[in-house]
């Protein structure tokens, strides 16, 4: 799991938290998380937000499974290390034919930028 907690939801925005631990699947030999691990964290943050909406607002019994359809304009600033706490802000865009456009901005708890991206999430 690449999300520990959905911290807050405010309209089309939500924040999620992840503490980077030693057993993280995406940890590389240099002790830093691979870029794709950050992308997975952003995708799972969006998925947690979508799941919250489905259950809390639409009355679904369990959150839907979503797939990444596209990653667009990903920029890496700095790969996080073990011990870093990541706070990611997800902005949910419109959904058309099961595809939702989201943007994600990942920062360290201290405010230093980690990465940002846009993504299409597909829920079949």
């Amino acid at each position: 799991m690449m999300v520990d907690e959905l911290l807050c939801v405010n309209g089309d925005e939500a924040q999620c938290r992840l503490a980077v631990r030693e057993d993280n699947f995406f940890l590389e030999e240099d002790g830093l998380i691979a870029e794709v691990g950050i992308i997975e964290h952003i995708a799972q943050s969006a998925s947690a937000f979508a799941g919250y909406r489905a259950v809390e607002e639409d009355g679904a019994t369990e959150p839907p499974v979503g797939y990444i359809g596209e990653v667009k304009n990903f920029h890496l600033t700095e790969r996080p290390a073990v011990g870093d706490v990541l706070i990611t802000t997800i902005t949910m865009g419109p959904t058309v034919d099961g595809v939702t456009i989201i943007s994600g901005e990942c920062k360290k708890e201290s405010g230093e930028p980690v990465a940002d991206t846009r993504m299409k999430i597909y829920v079949p």
């Binding site: 799991m1 691979a34 870029e35 990653v71 667009k72 920029h75 890496l76």
Partner: protein
Amino acid sequence: MFLKDKFYKVTKEDVSGTSATYTLAILPDCSVYDGHFPGNPVCPGVCNMQTILECAMMLTGKSLHYNTIKQCRLTAIATPEVCPEVMVSVSVDESNTILAEIKDSKQTYMTLKGTVQ
């Protein structure tokens, strides 16, 4: 290269200058399928993206990271059953632009354009 011999295994390589095609066996016993998803193994899109990066590392002989991903499209759902063998075509030019595609004889699973460092 944390996915090599764990998520995939290289069975053939065809290198030509700044581009190459790697034939990979997708390993069905990788621990990533324990969670993605229980009883319904689907290759995580990000693992396919990392596989492309690792193929670029084999091509260039350097340790690489994605600096930007301009666009990565996931055009079909890949699973160890649907595509036990895939071909990864990758090129890295002198300005560190990476272009790649994952496909088999049936369909294309991923296209990617970005920059590495």
